[in-house]
């Protein structure tokens, strides 16, 4: 059975959800994610305070929710989060270090994002999700990390898991996907990628 029931991939060139390109950058000077925030009319002022990692996770999760359409049917403690990346929070770590060196007045709001798992907190706060969460740091995406952790969460009562691979430091390479305990795609679902194929198609990391 295919664990993946919906996915969203964000790169610098486009955002694709379930095989369909939903956004491409405009000629606007704004960063791509900010363009999507406005175009999707997300209206969440806290977005502007987030670091790049959290912005990417926030936008991806919002688009995935819209694509799926049925996540609100789950209880607030029935959705878990399984995220990972290869670079932890180094994008914001560097900006925080620069703010300290340049102004000797390091920004508290940058400091709070110098942990990678904050992105999961932002998504949980936005959605009022109280399920379990885990964030791993790996050199390369590890599909067993996602599938094994999802099974563990399902066994503990969660009914859906939002998985994510979020690298943003050297360009956007973000993949978010949904796995649901009671809703699986058949293994032969025409053309729909499973977990390994998703990472192969999008990253060529495996």
């Amino acid at each position: 059975m295919n664990l993946v029931t919906s996915y969203c991939h964000i790169s610098g060139e486009q955002i694709e959800a379930d095989g369909r390109v939903v956004y491409r950058p405009s000629g606007d000077d704004k960063p791509f994610l900010d363009q999507v925030y406005l175009a999707a009319q997300l209206e969440y002022p806290k977005y502007h305070k987030m670091d790049l990692l959290s912005k990417a996770g926030f936008i991806g999760s919002e688009l995935l929710k819209a694509q799926h359409g049925g996540l609100s049917a789950y209880g607030d403690d029935e959705i878990g989060l399984i995220f990972a990346n290869s670079e932890s929070s180094c994008d914001t770590d560097g900006k925080f270090e620069a703010s300290y060196l340049q102004t000797h007045a390091p920004s508290p709001s940058l400091f709070v994002y110098t942990l990678p798992n904050i992105v999961m907190g932002e998504i949980a706060i936005r959605n009022k999700w109280y399920g379990e969460g885990i964030f791993g740091i790996f050199n390369r995406p590890d599909t067993a990390y996602y599938s094994d952790s999802a099974m563990t969460m399902f066994a503990k009562g969660m009914k859906a898991v939002l998985g994510g691979w979020l690298d943003v430091h050297n360009g956007l390479d973000v993949l978010l996907f949904l796995m649901e305990r009671d809703r699986r795609r058949a293994a032969d679902s025409t053309g729909y990628p499973d977990l390994e194929q998703l990472f192969e198609n999008k990253f060529n990391h495996i």
Binding site: P45, H48, K49, T103, A105, S107, P108, S109
Partner: protein, 85 residues
């Protein structure tokens, strides 16, 4: 005093990344924290402390002062005026 308040609002918007807020949206007497005002949080409070030092050279050393100083634009402007003069 009015130019100080305008200046303060512009610094707050920039420092706190309040991109959907204009200076005119911030009433001088509205609470900066909690409902009914800007809805700032505890991290924003730290940013306001940094802002006072960065733009006005004022160090808030007494934590007890914070609640009254950062209540509104009016209270912040009063505090800055007292410290500068």
């Amino acid at each position: 005093m009015d130019s100080l308040k305008q200046n303060l609002k512009e610094h707050i918007i920039e420092q706190l990344n309040l991109e959907e807020v204009q200076p005119a949206d911030i009433a001088d007497d509205a609470p900066l924290f909690g409902e009914g005002g800007l809805g700032l949080d505890s991290i924003d409070a730290l940013e306001l402390i940094v802002l006072l030092e960065k733009y006005y050279g004022i160090k808030v050393t007494n934590p007890e002062e914070g609640k009254s100083v950062f209540y509104s634009i009016d209270s912040m402007a009063d505090y800055i005026s007292q410290k500068i003069n």
